[in-house]
Structure formats: C-alpha cells, structure tokens
C-alpha cells in the first residue's frame, strides 16, 4: 500500500477558501469549468444548489463558467425550477438521441461530457440539504493549485436526517462500510485510503472523464475510481473533506439494491482486469422479500449493469471535442 498517499493527497476545503486565488489560477492556466447537477425529482433542493453556486461562484467569483442540469425525466417541477434560475437544463434522453437510451445517474454524468464545455467538470448531487459553495471550490482547489492532481473526490462527516431537526452521525455510509470497503480491502487495498469512495461529489479534468467508461447506474462511482486508479494511478487522485453533508436517508432495501449494482460493477471490473475468474454468468435479478398478509413474497427487480464506453470513442463527441481541445485527451498532465 502506498503509505504516504493519504497524507499527501487528503485536503480540507478550508485550504481553498481563497477564491480570488482559485480564479487567478484558473485564468492563468486558461481553463474553463462546468458544474453538472444530475437530477431526478429534486424540486425541493435544486433551486438552492443553483442559487448558491451561481451567486457565490459565478456572480461574485467567476470560478464556474456554466451550470448544467442533466435530468433523468423528473415528474415534479425540477426542470421548470432550474430553468427559472437561468441555467442550462437538458433531459438526458435528448442528448445523443441516436444512441440507445438508459436511465441512471451514470448516464447523466456521461452525457454531461457531451453538452458541457469545461476543461474541468464538477459533479454534485442535487439532493444536498446543506449545500454550500465549498462543495464546489473544495473539489476544485487541488485541481487548480497543483499540476499532479486530475481527479478529486469528496468525503464528509455525514449525518443523515432521521426526523425533524434530528441528525444521526454515521461513518462512511452503510454501503461503503459493509460493501465497498471490504471489497477494496480484499482486492485493491490502495483504494481503501479513499474514505468515502461512493460519495456523489467529485471533479476532474475532461481528459480523465472522457477516457473512462461510465456505468449508467449506481456503479458509476465504483467503476470510475477503479478505472482512474488502474489507468493513471492513485497519485492523480485527491480527496477533500467537505465537512458535513445532509441528505435524504434511504431505507435498507434501497441500499440493498444499490449494493447489488455496486458489487456487480466491482466484480465485472476485477474480472476484466484479470484479478479473478468468475465461472458463471452473474444474474441480473435482485431478490428481496416482503411480508404481505402474513406471507413472505419475493420482490424481484432486474438490475442490469449497463456501461457507456469512454466518451472519447464516440464519433459525435470526437467531432465536438477534437483531441487538441484544451482539457480533452492529450492535455498535459495525463
């Protein structure tokens, strides 16, 4: 295990709160930055995220060049509310419509590469109740102030809301501690240094994101970390403490489905890397049981793990972002 990584590549957001310095560095390097907010029925939180990011990091400090919402087909007012604050809103299905359509967060993040223009892209979940602009500038700090770091990932003290005005502190999250950390410990101990590998907030150079495949669903964070680690090593990755993130709690069954997809993504990755041989096809059905009128009844959900290829291999994208584009593949440092 690389012993020094956790010391050298772990930061706190407060190290980057000199926003003038970040803006100056962004201009000096001639970079542009996009913030992408993937959404699905986030009418309660989307406006606050947009307003704070826009006010603090666009109007007051020109750190972000655009905010783009990629929506998975919300049935509430998410898209209308986002548009009312004058940011770009796309429905994921309308982006590259000639391709087969999938639903999922990973799909939104992958398609964001096609519609955003930044050399650096910041991805932030749209369900954060205590949103603060540190979520963006904290992730951008290491990317702008160093030359070696190309991808940053958030970690938190994560209280979950369990009732009105009540918070419950947790560790890295149940799926992290019960699923992904044991798997990393077994097969890729270097990655255990990443405290919250499943956190939904990360940022990186386009040249990183466009050259890795994106699982379309919950597996996107796991796949992304493994691929970046395999392709460029741990040294290009940093993690940033963003203090506290308050978000909706998910019930155990929903977490079970998430764990199913993450395990499947992980197994496929390590098989592809030749670390294990799985001598059977993996099933696609997650089977959970409910007690209905005194009888146990199975609830079967088909959770196939689809994956988008590296965006750089998509012809339409190559046309829009030829390899010479700053930040796209071939940019210095990667």
């Amino acid at each position: 295990m690389n012993k020094s990584w956790v010391e050298s590549n772990t930061f706190h957001h407060s190290e980057f709160n000199d926003l003038n310095r970040l803006v100056a560095e962004k201009h000096r390097k001639g970079l542009s930055i996009s913030l992408c907010l993937p959404t699905l029925n986030e009418e309660k939180t989307i406006a606050k995220e947009i307003i704070i990011m826009k006010a603090e990091l666009m109007t007051r400090y020109p750190l972000l060049d655009e905010i783009v919402v990629i929506d998975s087909g919300s049935t509430d007012k998410t898209r209308d509310i986002a548009r009312s604050y004058e940011v770009t809103v796309h429905e994921a299905d309308d982006i590259l419509p000639q391709l087969e359509q999938f639903k999922g967060k990973g799909e939104n993040l992958w398609k964001a590469l096609y519609v955003t223009r930044g050399d650096i892209i910041v991805y932030i979940d749209a369900d954060i109740k205590n949103i603060h602009h540190r979520f963006a500038y904290g992730l951008l700090g290491p990317l702008l102030l160093t030359d070696r770091i190309r991808f940053t990932k958030a970690f938190y003290d994560r209280p979950l809301t369990v009732g009105e005005n009540k918070l419950r502190p947790t560790g890295g999250g149940r799926v992290t501690e019960l699923v992904i950390r044991p798997l990393f410990s077994l097969f890729m101990p270097d990655l255990t240094q990443i405290l919250q590998p499943l956190s939904g907030e990360y940022a990186g150079y386009r040249s990183i994101f466009e050259n890795i495949p994106f699982p379309v669903g919950y597996g996107v964070e796991t796949g992304m970390l493994i691929d970046i680690h395999e392709k460029w090593g741990l040294e290009v990755i940093a993690q940033v403490d963003l203090d506290r993130r308050v978000h909706k709690n998910q019930d155990t069954k929903a977490l079970g489905r998430m764990a199913f997809v993450i395990i499947k993504t992980f197994l496929k990755r390590i098989e592809k890397l030749g670390r294990v041989a799985i001598n059977q096809d993996l099933f696609d059905d997650m089977i959970q049981y409910n007690l209905i009128r005194g009888k146990l009844r199975p609830e079967i959900r088909q959770l196939e793990v689809y994956e988008r290829p590296p965006m750089a291999t998509v012809a339409d994208y190559r046309e829009k972002f030829p390899p010479s584009t700053p930040g796209s593949s071939g940019a210095p440092g990667v």
Partner: protein, 385 residues
Amino acid sequence: MDKYLDVLPSFVDKIRKVREIIISNIVLIGQISAPTFHERRRAERLVERLAEFQVDECLLDDFGNPIGVIKGSSPDKPPIFIVAHLDTFSEVEADQHFEVTDKIISGLGVSDNSAAVGVLASLPEIFRHLELRFESDIVLVAPVCNLGAGNLRGIRRLLKTWPTPIAGAICLESVELGRLNYYSDGMIRGEIECSIAIEEKWERYQKPNAILIINEVINAILNLRLPQKPRTQIVIGRIAGGLDHGKIAYDAKIGFEIQSDSDDMVKELYADIRDIVDGINKVFAVELRLNRISNLNATRLRYNHPLIKCATRILNRLGVEAVSEPSETALSIFLRRQIPAITLGITSGDNFHQEGAMVKIEPMFKGIAQIPALIMAMDNGVCDE
C-alpha cells in the same frame, strides 16, 4: 424627492438581477439557528459575509451585535442606520435547512427575521449594483437579544454607546410588504405561573389544579375594564400546562402583553394584574407568580414627519398600499431617543412563526427597492426638514 421616485421601477428590475445573491445570503445566514441569547454563530457569519462584500468596517460589538459600516463621502454627516434583528422565535438550536423554489423560500424563522437579515447582508452588493454612493455613513446592524425576554437589549445597548448623533433609522422586518410602522405602544410583557407542590403519596381528592387556577386568573383579567381611550388591550398569547388527560395539573403558565398608547395605563393594568395574582394566591393557597419579561414605552414619530411622507410616496409609486400599526421593535428604541425611524416590511409570506414559515421571492424586489430610495432621501436630509 421625485428623482428617487422616478428611479424606483429601474431599482426593482436591477435588484431582481442580483436575486441569487440575495437568496444566497438569506439561506446561508438564515439556516444558522439563532434563538434569542444564542445568536453568536449567526452574528459571526453575518460579519464574515459583510467583510466578503467589502464593507468598510465590520465588527461584533462588545454585546455581540454584528455591525457593518459603509463609509460615506462626508465624514461630518450623521450616519443612517439600517437594522434587522438577528434572533428568531424558534428555540431550536440545530441548524435549519431552508427550501427554495422558483417562487418561495421556506424554513423556520425565514419570515421573522431571516429574510430581512439576508437582505441586510446583500445591501452593499445592491448599492454597488445600483451604482449608489452616499454622503452619510450607512450603518448595517442586526441587533441580538431583540425578541421576548431579550427585550431589545442589543439595540438598546448599541444606541446607548454609539458615539455620534444618528440621522435616522430604517428597521427591516421580513414581512409584510407595505408595513410602515412609525409608532410603538407602551407595553409590558409578562408571565403568570402556577405551581402546586407534588405530594409523594396518594393524591388527595379535590387537590388544586394549576390549569383551573390559571383559568381563574384569565377570567379575572378578562373582567378588567379597559378604556377605549387611551387605546388599550391585553393579549393573552401563550398558555401551557399539565401532563396528561387524567392527571391533576401541577404546573400551568400563561404569557400576556398589555398594550396601550399610554404608558400610565400600561402600568395601571400591570398593577391590577398583580392584585389579581395576589388575591388568587391567598384564596387557593398555591404558588402563583407574576414575572415581567419585558417592557417598552409608548413613543411615536408625528404622522406628518417627512420620513413617513417619503416612505408612503415610495410605497405608492411601487403600487403597494401602506399599512400602519404599532410596532414593538427596535423602532421604539430609536424613537425614544428622538431619532427618526420607521419599520418597513420586505415581502409577503405565511405561517410566520411556524414550521411552514415561508416568504415569497417576487414581492421582495419591491420591498428591497424601498430601502435605497429611502436612504437617498435621508442622505439628502429628509429627516432634517
């Protein structure tokens, strides 16, 4: 004056253009809990925000009031105060999470007084955006210890120690747009508590019940004869007590406020209530206590004062009807010190002191436009006329 009226519509449009900054301030400051006597974290955040907006002097005074001073071009002119009280009715000390849509901002305390505090923090940026410079210093203050037992201590202390004369003050309340307060009633706010000793063994039959005794007190207060002139009322606004449906209540409490435009009448009625409490104490042999929480003297700006005329014209030009009622806010402390002052509302809202408290976003731009227009008039000496 007409010059300022003419620019009002453009003010509204220009202020709307910085709505994200205004809402961002409301959210980032208002989400920090600030029950009366526990406002420190919110006060520090406000000072931090004012400093970020390049306000010339930013500080917490020795009482904990956050203050920002935007320096004017004429050092000799007395300053103009803009005030929005910092504390909230909610006693919840955990941070809140406001929700924002395209039309409203909702969350505990937003309508009293977090929206106004957020607007206060945004004023430096709004002035810049409107390209406004003033001759007078503009002092932005969010006094602590304003509500309830706080008894306006923050602003009292600040004005007591402020070293120079003050030209005038605009007090901001989140709601309701159109509010134009320029007088405050004399007021005593009090609580009456009844406690009955808990017996260790079997409860005796016909034991005194604190709720019934408090009910006697209420009936006696309702029997007091109140004059129509001076205008006077007693509001019984809070009640609490008891433990369970079938248990004798050992404790009960009411909160009341005597309001009148005569200080003497307030004192007289408070003495009457004291007599009621003493009398019932003797009859029932229980522990009945009367506590004074806070008090204010009746004070007013004369109705034809140029500041009121000016504020009324601004509201008329904005198409908003001016509504005047007595106000027990920092206003009364300014007026008591012969400093011309009014209280304005910023926007409309609902469920003021409840969980579902909310304010509307769109009316806010008119509400905010009043402030620079009125400051321009005050800077030109409207309070000196």
